[in-house]
Each structure stands twice: as C-alpha cells, then as structure tokens.
C-alpha cells in the first residue's frame, strides 16, 4: 500500500486553479486559473516559493499551461480564445507570441516531442496544429474538425508525431500527418460521458483516460499483424480498451497523469480526492489489473482539477483545486 503526504501548500491564486505543469527538469512548476494569472513556483532552499507571476497575457481564465520540451518556453491556453507563448530568459518571462484563431475558449495546448509543433483545442470543436518557424513564428499547419463537440484536451505521443484529443462528445481521437495533412486515424469510444483528460504511458503504447462517467480506462495499441489477432485497418494500429476502473471515484474525474518514471497513475477528482493506481505485477498485458494504492481524502477543500507527476523525482506530485491552492505531495510505497 502507499501513502500520499502533503509536503506543502502554495497559496497565491485568488480564484480556482485549473492546471499545474512541471518543466522538463522538474525544477519549476507553473500553475494557472480563474484569476487570469500564471504563477511559476520554484525551490529556494527547502521552501517552495512563487518565483514569477505572469499577469499580462490573457483577458479571461487561463485553462492550461504547458512547457516546451527544451524548457525555455511556456504556452498558455485561455478562455479568451487565445494562446500565449512565453519565452524564459534568465528567469524572466516575456510573451513572444499570441496565437489567435479559435472562435472561443481554448482548453489546452501541447508541444510535440521535437518542439517544432504545437497543438491547441477549443470549445469550437476544432484542434489546431501550429508549426514553429525558424524565426520563432507560429503558423497554423492544420485545422482538424473531427469532434462533434467541445474538445477538452489534446496531447502528443511521447516520441512520435501522433496527437490525441478527447471531448465532450465522449470520444478520444488520434491523429497523424498523411500526405501533407493531418487526419484522424482512430476514434476510441467507450466512455459514457465527457472525457476530460488522456495521458500516454512512457512508451506511448498505452493510454489512460478519465471521464465525467467516473471511470478510468486503459487503452492498448495493437499494431497490424499483432499476435493477439486484434483486427487493424491499413498501416494504423488499433486501440482497444483493456481495463476499466470503476467504483473508485464518486464524482467526475478531471485529470490523470501516468508517471514515465514509476508507471503509477494518479487521478484528480471532483470528490476532492487524489488517488494513485499501480498495475499489478504479473497481470496479463491484454487484460491488465490495476490496484488502488493510495487515496488522499479531502486532498483539497474543493474539486481537484489537475495532478502532475514530477518528471525527474519519481515520487513527487503536484495538484491544484477550485479552493485556490496548489499542493505538493510525496508518494511512498511500502513493500510487504
């Protein structure tokens, strides 16, 4: 079994906090929310403190922040229909580009592993792909309108140029570039309500998704000619839901993160709890079992909106909530 210890609580946001995001080296944590500010937190000695407040970028709630793979840029997505790209030089942030094009609230922004592509999604039902030019300009490379509703989130495969998005239309979709344009190559249907978030595992062969239907689902990719005999189409692999975790969460689950270091899955839920799951050792990869390792009850006073594993410290975790706070946690597992 495991335990989650609250290491510290970071206060400063005036309204609900929607998202927390670690930089690639795990030394800085960015958070954003209803007060239209981005706060960047870092360690000074033993203490975590607010290093910068980025307040001049957006007119409305900032829904999501995301660091570039090199760690020198931060992108923020806002309900004001824009995305800002901030460059970090000697600890100072400066807004270097504003990406306009979405019709209304932008829900997420994500950098591809190469750092040359950026994906954004919005309530306008579209997903946009932006190319970063050599002179740090951002050009729209594609507008994909595959979803039939509000697109809640999008993120890139950890090593390939494959994009995944999830939506209010209850589906998850994967995209790749084919003959000069981006197309949807897979649609994953199994959730009964809005899919709030998806995350790849370390190798990008599995996905975990969480939903308003209070379940967590694990999806496995089967490539053409797989030995299990799962049917595929053309060159694309097929994604199959191999595990559904239900009965653990009491309200909508807003966020999930799959640790690329420890393989643990963490969820943030509308019932104010943070939960950690672990794949049981020796379980059948085609029908894996996951067990609940730890629950932080009343981890926050209100809904937990976002959870994120530190990319370098395997047992470190950040979370944020409607209660306006950001919290850092240490996760410990005892061997029996």
């Amino acid at each position: 079994m495991g335990t989650l210890d609250n290491v510290c609580t970071l206060e400063g946001h005036d309204e609900q906090v929607w998202c927390v995001s670690w930089n690639p080296t795990g030394t800085l944590l960015a958070s954003c929310g209803g007060d239209k500010n981005i706060r960047v937190w870092g360690q000074e000695g033993d203490k975590w403190v607010c290093k910068s407040v980025l307040s001049e970028g957006h007119q409305r709630t900032i829904r999501y922040v995301s660091w570039s793979p090199c760690g020198n840029y931060l992108a923020s997505a806002s309900f004001d229909a824009t995305v800002c790209v901030w460059s970090r030089k000697e600890g100072e942030f400066e807004c270097i580009a504003t990406l306009e094009g979405h019709e209304n609230e932008v829900k997420a922004v994500s950098w591809a592993c190469t750092g040359n592509l950026l994906a954004t999604c919005s309530r306008d039902k579209s997903v946009w792909i932006w190319e970063v030019t050599e002179d740090e300009d951002y050009e729209c490379a594609s507008v994909i309108s595959s979803h039939t509703q509000d697109v809640k989130y999008c993120t890139w495969h950890p090593s390939k140029e494959i994009l995944v998005s999830c939506s209010y239309d209850d589906t998850i979709k994967l995209y790749k570039e084919e003959i000069d344009d981006w197309t949807c190559c897979s649609t994953l249907e199994s959730h009964d309500s809005t899919v709030w978030k998806v995350a790849f595992d370390k190798d990008g062969e599995r996905l975990v998704s969480v939903s308003d239907d209070k379940t967590v689902k694990i999806w496995q990719e089967y490539l053409p000619g797989n030995k299990e005999g799962v049917p595929t189409k053309g060159k694309d692999g097929a994604w199959k839901c191999v595990c559904t975790l239900s009965g653990f969460h009491n309200r909508a689950i807003f966020d999930v993160d799959w640790s690329h270091l420890s393989g643990r899955i963490v969820t943030g839920c509308g019932d104010d709890c943070i939960r950690v799951f672990k794949e049981e050792e020796g379980s059948d990869p085609n029908q894996p079992s996951f067990s609940l390792m730890a629950t932080a009850r009343q981890a926050h006073d209100q809904d937990v909106n976002s959870v994120a594993w530190n990319p370098k410290v395997s047992n470190m975790l950040a979370s944020c909530s409607d209660d306006g706070t950001v919290k850092l946690w240490k996760y410990y597992e005892q061997e029996y």
Partner: protein, 159 residues
C-alpha cells in the same frame, strides 16, 4: 419582446409562506444545519428569464425537489421547465447553479438537473449544467452574465 414569449400565459401557483422562525434560530448555542427549505429559499425567488414571475410562482422549483445533506456536503436540485420545449431551460438551470455558487459554502457538491421526463432535451441540458468548465466560461461572458444577474436580482416587491 412581448410577441416572442414562448409561453405567454403560464399557470401560476400559490407561494409557500416565509420560513417560520423558532426559538432555536436565535440561540447562539444551537447549530442550524443547512436543510432542504433553506436551499429552496435561496432559489425560489429567482426570476424567470421571460416572465415577471419567480421560479416558485411557476412551479419550476418546489421544496420537494430540493435534496440537501449537510453532513455529506451534497445538494441536488431538480427543476421542471414550464413546458417540455422550453428554450430557456439551460438558462434557468444556469441561474440556479450560479445562485447556489454564490450562496452556498464551497464545501457543497451541487447537482442541478431537470426533473426526469419533463423536457425534450433533458440529457443535453443536464450535461451542460454539470460541466463546470462551461459554467465557469459562461460567467466570463458579460452578456450571458448580465442575463443571469437579471434573473438573480432580488425580486421586486409584488404589486
């Protein structure tokens, strides 16, 4: 605006009386739990977006469809649109949600839904009302916010 009323002549219902105050209400040592009636009192005087009437006048909300559990921090409201195709159902639901967002302690988990079987697009409306991200975005839309605030403005003295 008069000509575009969807239901120009709705049925009006008898109002519930004011909550009767009791000895305990004035006793500092007694803790008053938040109960069905208290939450009902919060929403009964919300104005209908279309008529000069309250949600209670129109029986859109009634005390029997307010379920509160103070200990478990839960509130569930079922509301009944005046007619099954009422295009204002989402707005009414949003007004209830916003009123409670402003009036209840944040520890409460609030569900606002249409009474089963009373509206043509029940599921769609319920899903929208449950999506807190959309509610948050709606409240940053100044036009929508002013419409909602109109509904929440304290009721005019009845004449």
């Amino acid at each position: 605006m008069g000509d575009s009323l969807i239901n120009a002549n709705p049925i009006i219902y008898e109002k519930t009386g004011e909550r009767v105050l009791e000895q305990d209400d004035f006793d500092d040592n007694v803790e008053d739990k938040i109960d069905n009636r208290e939450v009902f009192d919060l929403i009964r005087n919300i104005n209908d977006p279309e008529h000069p009437l309250t949600l209670e006048d129109l029986n859109v909300v009634d005390c029997d469809n307010v379920h509160v559990n103070d200990d478990e921090n839960s509130v569930e409201i079922l509301f009944t649109p005046t007619i099954p195709h009422c295009s204002m159902a989402t707005l009414i639901g949003l007004s209830i949600r916003v009123k409670l967002l402003r009036s209840l302690p944040p520890r409460f988990k609030v569900d606002v839904k249409i009474s089963p079987g009373t509206h043509a697009s029940e599921e769609a409306v319920n899903k929208q009302l449950a999506d807190k991200e959309r509610v948050a975005a709606a409240l940053e839309n100044s036009h929508l916010l002013s419409v909602v605030n109109q509904c929440l403005k304290s009721k005019r003295s009845s004449g």
